[in-house]
């Protein structure tokens, strides 16, 4: 019985949302209430997860475990940005400027680093994956789109070439459609299994 309660809650909440989505606008009010609750609970879940993370790092500091200095950095940074946000307000321009001053360069640098890592990895493509229909078409396609991305061929303004370029640019959409439909089917069946209680991502 105890095990059945979460299954029942997941099923009922899922069904309620589905029914409310179909019977619009009659059930729009109910849908809004349920979605509001979901937003609140998801936010509290984020705070709980964050608290668990902070507790884990605090334990690391207290026990002076290997690498505790990083935990000091994490908790220190958290406290500074959290206290700053709560006191100055999260929309305060000065506060946002400080947050952006750290987030923006760190994130842009990580993305830039990814470019360098990708370039190195791409050079080893055939060594890593061997020669197959997939890798050969991937390699040729990447090369073609890299050239097209430079815009030199388009700059020549040759009508016949522009037609060929148009076809080439439309070609990946075929695979994309197939992949999206396949992924969609997988996601649809996963959703149905959860609402039916056949899959329990909240644990047994």
């Amino acid at each position: 019985m105890k095990k059945a309660i979460p299954i029942l809650i997941a099923g009922l909440s899922g069904l309620l949302v589905l029914v409310a989505l179909i019977w619009q606008p009659q059930l729009a009010g109910w849908l809004e209430v349920v979605l509001n609750w979901a937003v609140i609970i998801a936010s509290v879940a984020a705070l709980v997860a964050m608290a668990t993370l902070l507790l884990a790092h605090t334990r690391k500091i207290i026990m002076v475990r290997h690498g505790f200095i990083y935990s000091v950095i994490l908790i220190g940074a958290f406290l500074v940005s959290f206290v700053g946000g709560m006191t100055a307000g999260v929309e305060n321009p000065s506060y946002l400027r400080w947050i952006a001053a750290i987030q923006q360069p760190a994130e842009a640098s990580l993305l830039g680093l990814a470019a360098l890592v990708m370039a190195a990895a791409a050079l080893r493509l055939f060594h890593q994956r061997g020669w197959s229909a997939l890798t050969v078409s991937f390699g040729i396609s990447a090369l073609v789109f890299l050239v097209l991305g430079l815009g030199w061929l388009q700059a020549l303004q040759i009508p016949q070439l522009d037609i060929v370029i148009g076809y080439l640019e439309a070609l990946p959409l075929v695979g994309m459609r197939g992949l999206l439909i396949g992924m969609g089917l997988g996601a649809l069946l996963l959703g149905l299994r959860i609402v039916l209680g056949l899959e329990r991502p909240y644990g047994e």
């Binding site: 884990a56 991937f138 997988g186 899959e199």
Partner: protein
């Protein structure tokens, strides 16, 4: 109920069809749910890696990807987390999970705790086994990287909605000389990681875990339902195209 558009009617029809196909396959194949299904090698490799980790006295780290709110496909990875945790409970180094969002972190805590409870060893559970890595996509990557680089790892599995930037995590694990398995629902990430050495699953194979690990008969029924829908969609597309061409369907 208001009048439905063609798009909504088709969507509704697909949902009903998926439901019927799922139920039918659950019933028909209830005795041998996993037979006659292709196994996804990346999922099977997670099992092999899990055994190797136990033999080496090392652990597996699983990156569960971005939050459920960003992509519900994140939930597909939780049965694998449960299965691998179950196998590592009595080893020196239990599986560690890192999540890219609050809901996913709480779900993974609940799943891991439930698995320990199921093995009648709730006292062995520690909250550190399933932690949040970061709340934004880049914070998740930043939180995942140190865990992926841990010397205690025998390998790393990235299973969930990972962005293409996770190529950095794959590179780091490679540098540490450990294997990495990636199952992501993000097509751009699949494309980027195709050029890496990671063992990778492509396209909808992302959803194969429950069936490939043989931990959930409904997952196998879902794969059979997917196959059936594939055939129905193909027939429907051809029929629709012919009707359109002949001008029967204006």
């Amino acid at each position: 109920m208001p009048a439905l558009s063609l798009n909504d009617l088709l969507a509704f029809g697909l949902c009903v069809l998926a439901l019927v196909a799922l139920g039918m396959n659950l019933l028909v194949h209830r005795k041998h749910p996993y037979s006659g299904l292709r196994h996804t090698s990346a999922v099977r490799s997670t099992e092999i890696l899990s055994q190797a980790a136990a033999e080496q006295g090392k652990r597996l780290t699983i990156g569960l990807g971005l939050d459920v709110a960003d992509s519900t496909t994140a939930m597909a990875s939780l049965p694998v987390l449960a299965a691998l945790t179950r196998r590592s409970i009595f080893t020196d180094q239990p599986v560690r999970a890192a999540s890219g969002g609050g809901t996913l972190a709480c779900l993974s805590q609940s799943v891991v705790r439930g698995t320990y409870q199921g093995a009648v060893t709730p006292e062995l559970f520690k909250p550190d086994y399933a932690l949040l890595a970061g709340l934004s996509p880049y914070a998740y990557l930043a939180g995942l990287l140190p865990q992926a680089a841990s010397r205690a790892n025998a390998g790393v599995i990235l299973y969930g909605p990972h962005r293409p930037e996770s190529v950095l995590a794959v590179d780091l694990v490679e540098r540490k000389g450990n294997p990495v398995i990636v199952l992501t629902s993000d097509l751009s990430a699949q494309a980027v990681l195709l050029a890496s050495s990671a063992q990778l699953s492509l396209g909808e194979d992302f959803f194969d875990s429950g069936a490939s690990l043989e931990v959930n008969p409904s997952a196998a029924a879902a794969l059979r339902a997917q196959d059936l829908l594939r055939i129905v969609i193909t027939v429907g597309l051809i029929l629709g195209a012919v009707l359109r061409l002949l001008g029967v369907w204006q």
